[in-house]
Symmetry: C2
Subunit: 642 residues, 2 copies
Amino acid sequence: MSYTDKDSFEPLVVLQFSPTTPTITKDWVIKRLTSSHTEDEGSGLLARYEHTPENQDSIIVIGATLDRLLAGAEEIRIQKWYKNKGLTDFIVADIEHFENSENPSNILYKSEKQRIIYEEIQNLHPARHETTVPGIRKKTFVPENDTILNILTDHDYLVNFFPLHDKEDIKLLEYDWFASRTSMFKSQDIHKIRNYFGENVAYYFAFLEFYTKALVPTAVLGLLLSFTPTSDFFKYSFFCFFNVIWWTVFMERWKRLTNKLAYEWGTLDLQIFERPRSRYFGDLHRSPITDKIERQYPAWKRQVKKYLVSYPIIMGCLIGSLTVYFTFYRTQKKMHAEYPLENPKNPLETKLMRMAPSTCYSLAVIPIKLFYRKLATFLTDYENHRLQTAYENNLTSKLFIFFFVNCFAGLFYEAFFNVNYANVVQLLTTLVIVNAIILKFTEQVVPFILKTFKKSQLKGQSVEKVSEVRQQIKTLTPFEGTYGDYLTIFEQYGYIALFSAVFPWVALCGLINNIFELRADAFKYCYVYQRPFAQPANNIGSWHHAFDILSSIAIVTNTALIAMQPSVREYFSSYSNVEYIIIFVAAEHILLTLKFAIDFAIPDVPHEVEIARAKTLYESSQALRREREHKSERAQSMTTKL
Amino acid sequence: MSYTDKDSFEPLVVLQFSPTTPTITKDWVIKRLTSSHTEDEGSGLLARYEHTPENQDSIIVIGATLDRLLAGAEEIRIQKWYKNKGLTDFIVADIEHFENSENPSNILYKSEKQRIIYEEIQNLHPARHETTVPGIRKKTFVPENDTILNILTDHDYLVNFFPLHDKEDIKLLEYDWFASRTSMFKSQDIHKIRNYFGENVAYYFAFLEFYTKALVPTAVLGLLLSFTPTSDFFKYSFFCFFNVIWWTVFMERWKRLTNKLAYEWGTLDLQIFERPRSRYFGDLHRSPITDKIERQYPAWKRQVKKYLVSYPIIMGCLIGSLTVYFTFYRTQKKMHAEYPLENPKNPLETKLMRMAPSTCYSLAVIPIKLFYRKLATFLTDYENHRLQTAYENNLTSKLFIFFFVNCFAGLFYEAFFNVNYANVVQLLTTLVIVNAIILKFTEQVVPFILKTFKKSQLKGQSVEKVSEVRQQIKTLTPFEGTYGDYLTIFEQYGYIALFSAVFPWVALCGLINNIFELRADAFKYCYVYQRPFAQPANNIGSWHHAFDILSSIAIVTNTALIAMQPSVREYFSSYSNVEYIIIFVAAEHILLTLKFAIDFAIPDVPHEVEIARAKTLYESSQALRREREHKSERAQSMTTKL
């Protein structure tokens, strides 16, 4: 196995410091990164400054020797194909049995190499003998909690920490994904995406595609029905019934696909082997599972924080945001009453005063949402979750509740209290179409223009070739997780699911939007965002619950919407009001029961995955048995010899 | 390790043949049972006739040497305490590390020994060279499906196959359980019960006790409320709200206890290592999990049978039984109209004619229920489930649906369509109290009297000591599974959950009944039934779902019942009918949401069990890693030597 030259290694990961960071601190970081693991508890990586006149040595690029990477792959239990056997933990000593072992540098994907470096840096502490960090005044260190990343972040020295994009890999990826003309009509190669971006991002794209495909029947049926000359009642109820079954089956099939992918990517038993987050703090205890010393934080404390701090605060936020909404609503009503459209005294003033409340509201909502997102992150940090997956699930739930109330409060109010369908239609149209365009614009078009602009600036600035690293730092937006993207789909699914029985065209809009959305998102991940660290995942986390809850609520809203249509009431005109309501409540209960029955009848885990899991469990338990038999045989033969 | 004398071994299990069984067949069975596993594919057990003048050699008693039992324990993966480590698969070669190894005959409980013999006999086939069975004319054998037990059962030669009770063990068990005067107020020692009866029965008693304890607050609160001088609405709704939360928490806590017990009994991962049922048939294939040759039956065929045969037949039965019920109902109404109680022409005729329909119905229901139970068993057999647990779950579901409709159809009809609360109260009283007494009488008192009677008969018949084996055959009822007992609790819980908001005293009746029920059942299992084979289990199977479904339905029925009370309607007299209904539908939805939220918030598996599972998984995966490392090291050192 080969060692690369210490200074000319391939850079994989970038650490960018703030300009105020003392040079001795940066030097110390490089020393910690490069010193060997055995002697000095360092990372044993390769690291150097990215020298350019302009950046004042604020950028460190990091790589690693192949041996170091392979050892790291074993340590963090990266799954690789064992020849003729399937996925297993990669083990260096057994390397010749893994696929691609003829050429060891091809065993790991670049994203995996970057993840290995990421995990190493996440767990890098000051050396045991060090009581101070050069350039940083601080009283004491809590050795178990003070990783180098935490120290740097706490002093605002760390600006950015990300892996580098690989232009050649992107070229291979993008053609089928979004660049070629036929890509629009092809399924994504989800495994390619996973190999480049990691499981977390791959699950997002898998879900978006799966969801978009699931929209097709709904959209087509909705369209067909709206041209069918039958009674409204039949149309609505048939469509509603179809949707309940279709979306329940969809969620179940997605769960199965989720498990299949997790199996193919070797992340099924992720939680057990997942490493703690670097920001997770706690006292050192011996782990009851691995018997190693680990940080531990009592579960009851987390529960107390969750139920007594986080949830009440979130409740407060919900009430606050509803108050803002209804203040806006009342003001608007008052304005509309004061400035009627007919025979305005002063046409300009009328227009302005009528528009004022909604403009104010739209402006007020932006900082509220931003504030809430910061708050949700803060609270989730404060809850101190041990694993990244648990952290993300809790953050997702918080976002979900808030955005649910924010997105749908207005629609619910118009549909069920005001019973003003013209307003509902107008709101839906605005939200679905305008939102999609605005989001695309702010999320993708603007950053792309900025990027092109900055790139041209860079090119203009100096004739010499600007380094790839600097270019990625300058032109790409830092990756902030998949939350925003999921929220977009979630919002759209909400419009479709909650109101589709009566407004079937929403599904069609969503479908058309998503076909473009998927490609636009793909482009965004490749050319607008900095590359994310590959993050293992075995499902889409709490988003699944969010969609599931929405599906259940949808049954309630859709039956209610249908019942509230005058044409349907007419259809049931021989029934009294009370009977009419009871009929629809019964129908709703039957649909809910149907949903749960389907949920229950379809197993979550596909048969082949079940078998594969059982097989792994069986094999490892057999190994444990063999080991114990060998041990006792050895012990016996020892005693016999004595 | 000691061998026992071939003829004076301790009998553990009994095979009883019908008088028509040819002696050569019985001889052949003994030969198969006793011939060694390695030479002749026999069971390697000990077996002999129980000679008495009367029984014509129709009884074979079976035992085994200790070595045979220990080997069997290893084979069927019996879990034992590894010193200082916890439960692991028992391994003979490693015996000195297990608790009680100083005295190997104490390592296994008698119930475990009997289970080992049971499993062996379940898997005993004719020897490979045998093409016919002595005394049985049959064309061909399908070697994989023709176990000896199946052959004997198919020819109606097998009357009984059960393990023997152990009087000394029962003495130790019964004192704390039901025999001492203080036992009424003590918790059961569930582990003792498990050691004697196996997990399946132990779960039943654990559930009965847990459920009975859970009744206390409901019963007390119901009693208190009925004496509180507040509005009916407040009483009912408070009690309903309390019950929703209480029973949801109860079900969740039971799930946690279930998992804790499964962990303590080493049955958590039961499904993976569970052996196929002996009646399971299929073609021989290599198992994808264990890589051994196993019978396999395609899952899709089972699904087809389930959805296209079983379910439609069950639907038909339900419709049939409802038809019977409503025929009875109409006849009764007609009779009541034709023979009014006031001024009867002929008092006797009136009484008789008024009672006739309900008497006919009660008589008709008994064969219907028996028939349905046979049918459900037949259909479940026909579905050909591989594992005993799956078999029982499917049988349970079938029973559950039918008994649900049968027990509650009348009550539902009276409460929601007739709105005749006097009838509901009367029905509930009859069902809860009379049912309990009748059931106890037919299930326990009668068999006990019969037993005492038969025993005295046996004693009178011959002065010599009647053998223990014969006495158990003669005086004890064959064990027929825990279904009947679960059905009894299920029915009672139904009355309590579905109607308790308005009739709170039902819970009190249930509580008092159960305190006696538990002891009576315990007595029944010890002295009325033949001992059941210990059957591993890690939960109460589909019964959990049955109770959970009932809890959800209970929310619907209780809010409806409250809403239908005239006093409550008066309380809301300022609201219109439509508003009133919508208020209660909303309340019902909120309660349902609450239930699901609690379900979701309480984790199913207790933290310590989660950790223990992770630990096992971690350790066995580490063993697999170490094994592979060793292998490759050996391979490398081999190559270096070469």
